[in-house]
């Protein structure tokens, strides 16, 4: 599982950070940082929830 964020769509509202802080962090500069773009499989449910809850539909999961 590889995390892909479309940064043109992302508006840093930090919803993903709330759900999967192991993977996503919005810092004080208001930018989103991906902490781990190949997270372990046990984080999959959290990452899928972040995909679903991202208000901009900016997150996707690539299976490569």
């Amino acid at each position: 599982m590889r995390i892909v964020v479309d940064f043109d769509l992302c508006e840093s509202n930090a919803v993903c950070m709330d759900i999967a802080p192991e993977v996503f962090e919005v810092r004080d500069d208001d930018f989103l940082y991906i902490l781990d773009d190949r997270p372990p499989d046990e984080l999959r449910p959290k990452v899928e929830e972040a995909v679903r809850r991202c208000p901009k539909q900016a997150i996707s999961i690539a299976e490569d």
Partner: protein
């Protein structure tokens, strides 16, 4: 449970259907919606789609699971539910047919309110559906001399901002002395009013609308004090009403929404979620109905799990609601549930620079965090409000961190 019917083919309905499948429900799953469209996303309707920067097709919500999997749903679109027979366990549709169910998810959302005398005259709009949005957009593309927005709540304020972005003259009418004053308090509401004025909106507060004038098309809005505002286009943004008309006489308790228990159960085998559902949220000790995008997803999934729990006790649904609104270059986000009479204090930035974080407190607890262009701290407080953050602790901690 062999068959489940979901009424309402939008965000809460889709997410509950997805959760039902993820939790292993393998029976027949039918989603009924009165709009002709597959589920789509509403927030862009007052923003990008109305502005004309997004093609309407971009609002489509992937009608499958997150991984793109087929949820094996039977869609009944353009089909309005008109009645619920709890004894026979059937949903009646407008075309005279009916659907039997073992389990029912009510996700009919909310409908925009009109004002007396506003319906049926060309040029007067509400904004709830994609079709509403496209009709309004067509009127805006015709280059009206003035757009009058009635109601400075979030939808009205976003429409005003989007119309200014199109270079149109806008008057924003609000009956309260300060827009959003009841939800966010007068100080923050005043920041909003000032921001719209700075962007050239003619904001008039404390004014009531008395009526609409013109021929087939609206020409003027008459105000309570007898004065008039010229208007080629009027947008009514005075809030929504939960779509419960089809449930009248069903035996379910209806009171500004479908009344549920703390687990989202409205009756045995019947759950409700999204803008239509009212339930006691144990986290806030308060009965609430939440009109937020994020809640429709979260509650849709929770209600699905509750339904599958059958005669089990279920678990209470106790979110800290979260909401955002985009206006001009400002992004507001709000976690929690501030209300009239709460204490409010700005803890980062300042109202004057329009980049700030404010906390709301009630009965010794932090009950809300509001940010203007401060999204990440709002989210951090969302988690801490869920943990029962005390007001004094929050303030002390802020004093200690330079």
């Amino acid at each position: 449970m062999r068959s489940i019917v979901v009424v309402g083919a939008s965000l809460a309905g889709l997410r509950s259907a997805e959760a039902l499948r993820h939790e292993g429900f393998a029976g027949a799953l039918t989603v009924v919606g009165d709009e002709p469209h597959l589920p789509y996303d509403r927030p862009p309707l007052s923003k990008q789609v109305l502005a004309g920067t997004w093609d309407p097709g971009r609002t489509a919500l992937a009608a499958g699971g997150v991984g793109g999997e087929d949820l094996d749903l039977e869609w009944r679109l353009g089909a309005r539910a008109v009645g619920l027979d709890m004894a026979a366990r059937r949903v009646a549709l407008e075309d005279g047919s009916s659907l039997a169910f073992d389990g029912l998810v009510i996700a009919t959302g909310a409908e925009a309110r009109w004002l007396a005398g506003s319906e049926g005259r060309a040029g007067i709009h509400v904004l709830r559906t994609l079709d509403d949005c496209l009709a309004l957009r067509t009127d805006l593309e015709a280059g009206p001399r003035r757009v009058v927005v009635v109601g400075a709540g979030f939808i009205g304020a976003e429409v005003a901002a989007t119309c200014r972005g199109r270079g149109l003259d806008v008057t924003l009418l609000e009956v309260l002395p300060v827009p959003l004053g009841r939800v966010l308090g007068e100080e923050v509401g005043s920041v909003y009013a000032a921001m719209h004025r700075d962007h050239g909106v003619d904001v008039r507060t404390g004014v009531a609308v008395a009526g609409f004038e013109g021929g087939d098309r609206v020409e003027r809005v008459r105000l309570g004090d007898g004065s008039e505002v010229e208007a080629d286009v009027v947008v009514i943004g005075v809030g929504v009403a939960p779509a419960t008309g089809w449930l009248a006489g069903s035996g379910l308790t209806l009171d500004d929404g479908v009344v549920c228990d703390a687990t989202c159960l409205a009756a045995p085998g019947v759950v409700a979620a999204g803008d239509v559902a009212r339930w006691p949220n144990p986290r806030f000790g308060q009965v609430m109905r939440v009109e937020h995008w994020d809640n429709a997803i979260d509650q849709g999934a929770h209600a699905a799990r509750r339904l599958l729990d059958g005669d089990g006790p279920g678990t209470p649904y106790q979110p800290v609601p979260w909401f955002w609104s985009d206006q001009y270059d400002r992004k507001l986000s709000l976690a929690g549930r501030p209300g009239p009479g709460d204490t409010m204090t700005v803890v980062q930035g300042s109202l004057a620079e329009r980049r700030f974080l404010a906390l709301y407190g009630r009965a010794g607890r932090v009950v809300g965090a509001l940010g203007m262009n401060r999204p990440a701290p709002v989210m951090r407080y969302r988690a801490r409000i869920a943990g029962g953050l005390a007001w004094d602790d929050a303030l002390r901690e802020l004093e200690e961190t330079p």
